[in-house]
Structure formats: C-alpha cells, structure tokens
C-alpha cells in the first residue's frame, strides 16, 4: 500500500489507529499483536502471497537469531550460524533482484543459460530493506547487543509498517526500548498532532512537488540521445528534485506515521543539497542507510585493514597514515568497496554499480582533499570570501551528486552517457530548423534551445525548488519542538516557521492536507519502492 493513496489515508490509517487505541487498552500484548496484524495487512494488500515470503524470511531469521544467542558460549559456532544467516539472506536477495539480470547478461554475451526461466520473478516489495534490517539484527545478536528472545517483539520490529517497504533502516536498539515503554503504548494527542503534521508535510512534497515532474523526466531520459544542452540540463535537474522531494516526502511520512504511534525513527533526510562536501552529503541523504553501511560494511573492512597494518608492526599515527602508501589500503579501498556494494544494493544493472563507484571516488577524493589539500582558516577570511567559498562548495557538491543521479535514474549506462553528453554540449546547443518556429519570442527562444513550449514554467519551478532546498528550514527543523526523530540534532526553524500545537498550525496543516489530497492523481509509487 502506498502512503499517498486514498485507500491508505481514509481506509487503512484510521483502521490501524483506532484498532491500536482499542487493542492497547486491552493490554500490552494486544497492542503489539494489533500492530503486527495491521502491518501484514498493509504489506499484503495488493499481493497477499507476499506475506508468505516475508513470513518465511522472518521465521528463518528468528530461528537463526535464537540459535546464535543459545550458543553464546561458543564463538566459532556463533560465527558459523551468523554466516549461514547472512548467506541465506543475501542468496534470497540475489535470487529476486539479480539472478534474471545477470543471466540475461550472460545470454547477451552468447552463453546459453536459460535466463527466460527467471523472467517471471517479481521483486517482492521492500525485500532490500527487510533483508538489511534482519542481517543487522543477526550481527547485533552475535555481538551480544540484543538479548530479547521474544517472537512477537521481533515480528513487530521487522514488520512495523511505517518502515517496512522503504525504510528508514532501523536498528533493534532504536525501536525496541520505545515499544517496550508502556508510556508509549496509547494514542496520545501529543504524538498524533506532530506526527500527522509531519506526515502531511511529506505528502505535499510527494504529490504536489515531486510527482508532476515525472512525465518530463521519463520523456527526457528516453530521448536522451537527442537532447540539446538546455533540454539535457532541464531533464537532469528535474530528476534531482523529483528524487529529492519524493524521498524527503517519503521519509517525512514514514517518520510522521511512526510518531503517531508514539515511536521515533532515526533521521533519514536532512537537507542534503545544503551539503558543502560529499562526505556531508551522505550525512544528510538517506542517513539511515549511511549509518547502516558505515556500521556493517565500512567499519569492518576499514578495521580489518588497520588490524593487518598493526600486525605488520607499522605505525598508526595520523601522520603515518597520511602517506599515499597507507591512504590506498586504509581509505580508498574501504570507501570504494562500500560504495560499490551500496550502488549494487539499489538494483541490478551496471548503472547502479557506476553510481556507487562514482560516489566512492567522490568520497575518496574528499578524504584526500581533507588530508592533503590546503588547510582553510575560516576565521581569518573576509566575509565575502567565506560566502563565495560556501557557494562554490555547495555548487560543486550538487553537481557531483547530479552526475551520480543521472546514472541512478537511467535505464542503462548508455542512456546515462547520452544524457551526460547532452549536458556537456556534445549534442549541440541549438535545435536544427528552429528558425521555423512561430509565436512569441519566448516560444522561439525555447524552440531554438530545443526545449518544449512549456519548459520555461519548469525552469521557474526549478529555481523555486533550489531556493526551497537551500534557504528554507527542513521539516525536522520546523517540527523541532516535537523532536520527531532520533539521532540528529537540528537547529530549530525561525519562530514564525516553528510548529506549535495551535489553532493556526492546525488550520494551515489542514489546508495543506486538503491540497495534497486534491492533488492525488493516478497514485504513483515512491521512487525508493523499486529498491
């Protein structure tokens, strides 16, 4: 079910909330059981057979987690169980996500592997997310961080519908203490009001801002080979804002829903286009994924490299680690490996691998610049120079991200390269035969640049979007009074834009909600549902 659909808004959500209010009165366990039941209804709404799949996945992982904990006295056996669990999870993910693409690729190379037999595999909704959640849980069990053996608690942790399909990727330690606290076990106005407000802010971003861009982007990417300079840029920038508002909207809605039920999720999205470096970008974009990758991929790889260095008796001071000979194995390798895998996690296809490696390269350069580049002394600079350097850093970061997003969206590497070629002017600046266009100056200029007749409106819209992304406080800052998420400290918004439980805010939120519901067109999926 999609958050921004009528059946969710007016059917499922009231049903889930009311049922929870009643069940929570009956007792602690009833509330848990109700949330699990509602979450499975949510998950299986369009395709009930998917419930079987997620049930198998949960049963398997629960069994492994119990086995890991029961063998606390024998670390080697625990490790073997952990690897078995992680291996099976990855194998399932591979089967559903990559098997067909890989076999089809082999066939295209002339090998006969009968890829057709795998063509009917449908990617189960949210499998990338619930697989990651559960792998993290198994590692936590092995490390002795989680000790709770209760099946209902585990079911609730994995299936809780606000994060089930596209995150935020949660830790057991984030959620379980909150679910266990009886104070959270009831519907309360103090949670419902800010939760609903955050949800509506997210819905506006999704249906009013992101969705209307979809048509132009689909056309642009399909036609990438023929786009002139201006058209290629409009397409790419439109996509960068569709993705921005779609994912920001999704994250707000997920965090808002959780808050309605008295639970705070880890932050997922914090004005990423304000980032002044790629390192900072990843601290603001899909933050729960960054945290996950850091913890379960980057740290183990990086730590292994350092342990190996120590074992060889090499020095571990900052200076010694700054030599190029140390930089490659200690920084470049863990970063590229982590981001390459992060890219592939998003989907089968070389374009995702390139997206990941590109960001790995960006991050490596960013780290190298911090180590070897000129040391800036912010305090000593004149204000104007400081401002210029901020503008330059934000612009360069955005540009680097934009290039990555072209690969992220494209159907193939070729399509991405076509669009990038258009953006660098390789397809020319002007459309041939544009002189024949009749109409106002505006129409003629647009035709000359190879733009569609209404693209000037889109350009105005994009300018407004840039201003919003750069200068407006984000929803976490607006909702700061309610502390809607955990794990991040934000500067609260200016008092005029600061949410308060007041009539004025209730009316404004109601109007926004009305606008969003009226804008619900043919409901489109969230972009992150495909991962």
């Amino acid at each position: 079910m999609i958050f921004s659909s009528l059946v969710f808004l007016f059917g499922f959500l009231p049903f889930a909330l009311l049922g929870y209010a009643l069940a929570a009165r009956l007792g602690f366990r009833s509330g848990t059981v109700w949330l699990i039941f509602a979450s499975l209804v949510f998950y299986g709404f369009w395709a009930p057979y998917l419930i079987v799949l997620i049930a198998v996945s949960i049963a398997f992982n629960y069994a492994v987690s119990v086995a890991i904990r029961r063998n606390a006295g024998s670390p080697p056996r625990q490790s073997a169980l952990l690897w078995l669990g992680v291996g099976c999870n990855l194998a399932a993910l591979f089967y559903y996500k990559y098997a067909f693409a890989l076999l089809a690729w082999f066939e295209a190379q002339g090998l006969h592997v009968n890829a057709g037999a795998f063509a009917d595999i449908v990617l189960p909704l949210g499998i990338s997310f619930f697989t990651f959640t559960q792998i993290g849980y198994l590692v936590d069990c092995k490390d002795g961080v989680t000790k709770n053996d209760n099946l209902l608690d585990y079911l609730l942790f994995v299936t809780f519908f606000p994060h089930l399909i596209a995150g935020p990727i949660v830790h057991n330690g984030d959620l379980m203490p909150q679910f266990a606290d009886p104070a959270n076990r009831a519907l309360k106005a103090v949670n419902l009001a800010p939760g609903l407000t955050l949800f509506i802010l997210g819905m506006v971003k999704k249906v009013v801002l992101a969705d209307p861009l979809a048509g132009k982007i689909a056309m642009g990417f399909t036609d990438a080979a023929n786009l002139k300079l201006a058209g290629a840029w409009v397409t790419a920038v439109c996509y960068s804002f569709q993705l921005y508002f779609d994912f920001s909207g999704y994250s707000d809605m997920a965090c808002g829903l959780a808050l309605m039920f008295g639970v705070r999720f880890p932050a997922n999205f914090n004005s990423p286009y304000k980032a002044r470096s790629i390192i900072e970008f990843w601290q603001r974009w899909h933050m729960s994924l960054t945290r996950y990758l850091n913890q379960y991929l980057y740290n183990p790889i990086a730590l292994a490299a350092r342990r190996a260095r120590i074992a060889r008796g090499l020095p571990m001071t900052r200076k010694a680690l700054s030599t190029p000979a140390a930089f490659v194995p200690m920084v470049a390798w863990p970063t590229l490996a982590t981001m390459g895998l992060a890219g592939v996690w998003h989907g089968a296809g070389l374009q995702f691998l390139i997206f990941g490696l590109l960001h790995g390269a960006y991050l490596t350069i960013n780290h190298a610049w911090r180590m070897y580049g000129p040391k800036s002394a912010d305090g000593e600079r004149a204000r104007l120079r400081r401002l210029l350097s901020v503008i330059w850093q934000v612009a360069l970061t955005y540009l680097a991200v934009l290039v990555g997003q072209v690969f992220f969206r494209a159907a193939s590497v070729g399509q991405a390269l076509d669009l990038l070629a258009g953006m660098t002017g390789l397809h020319g600046l002007f459309a041939p035969g544009a002189g024949a266009a009749v109409g106002s100056k505006l129409v003629q200029v647009q035709a000359l640049l190879g733009l569609a007749p209404d693209d000037y409106k889109r350009c105005v819209k994009l300018a407004i979007f840039f201003a919003m992304a750069w200068f407006l406080p984000n929803s976490l800052q607006i909702m700061a009074a309610a502390e809607p998420v955990i794990g991040v400290k934000v500067q609260p918004a200016h008092s005029l834009l600061q949410w308060r439980p007041s009539w004025r805010w209730a009316l404004a939120t109601g109007a926004l909600g009305f606008l969003a519901v009226m804008s619900l067109g043919g409901t489109t999926e969230f972009l992150y549902f495909q991962f």
Binding site: D143, V145, Y296, R318, R370
Partner: protein, 82 residues
C-alpha cells in the same frame, strides 16, 4: 589496572595518534570536541585502542562509542575491570 589508568593510557595513545602533546581529553570529550576526530580517525582510534589494550571490538560496538568515557567503559568491561 583501574579505569583511571585506562583513561591515562588512552589519552597518551590519542596524543601520539594526533601528534599533539597538548591534547586535553576527559571522559566527557567527544569526537565533536577534537577537530581532527572525524569518521576516518574514528576507525584509526578504535584500531589503536584494540592494540594498546589487547582487546577486540565487535561490529555493533564501534558506532556507539561516541565519547572518551564510552571507550574507557568498554575497555574496562573487556578487561574485566569493575
């Protein structure tokens, strides 16, 4: 070994790592207090602590070590210091 000794050995290791003899660290110090203690240095420090004290950290433990005090406590647990 006492927790205070863990702390002083840890501070000595950090001074060595950051190449800064004047570095002042207390239990309350966090990565935010030391300009050069970024995500990269964090892994380096963790590896340094492992070899200094002969302990090994688990994957799930590393992210939660946010302050010098956290490091001291975890090392103490691993070394069996009350």
């Amino acid at each position: 070994m006492t927790k205070d000794e863990v702390l002083s050995q840890l501070v000595a290791m950090m001074r060595d790592y950051f190449d800064d003899e004047d570095l002042v660290l207390t239990r309350e110090s966090t990565a935010e207090d030391v300009v050069e203690w970024d995500s990269l240095s964090h892994v380096n420090i963790i590896a340094g602590v492992e070899s200094t004290f002969g302990v090994r950290f688990a994957i799930s433990e590393i992210e939660n070590l946010k302050s010098v005090g956290d490091l001291v406590e975890l090392v103490a647990v691993k070394k069996g210091i009350a």
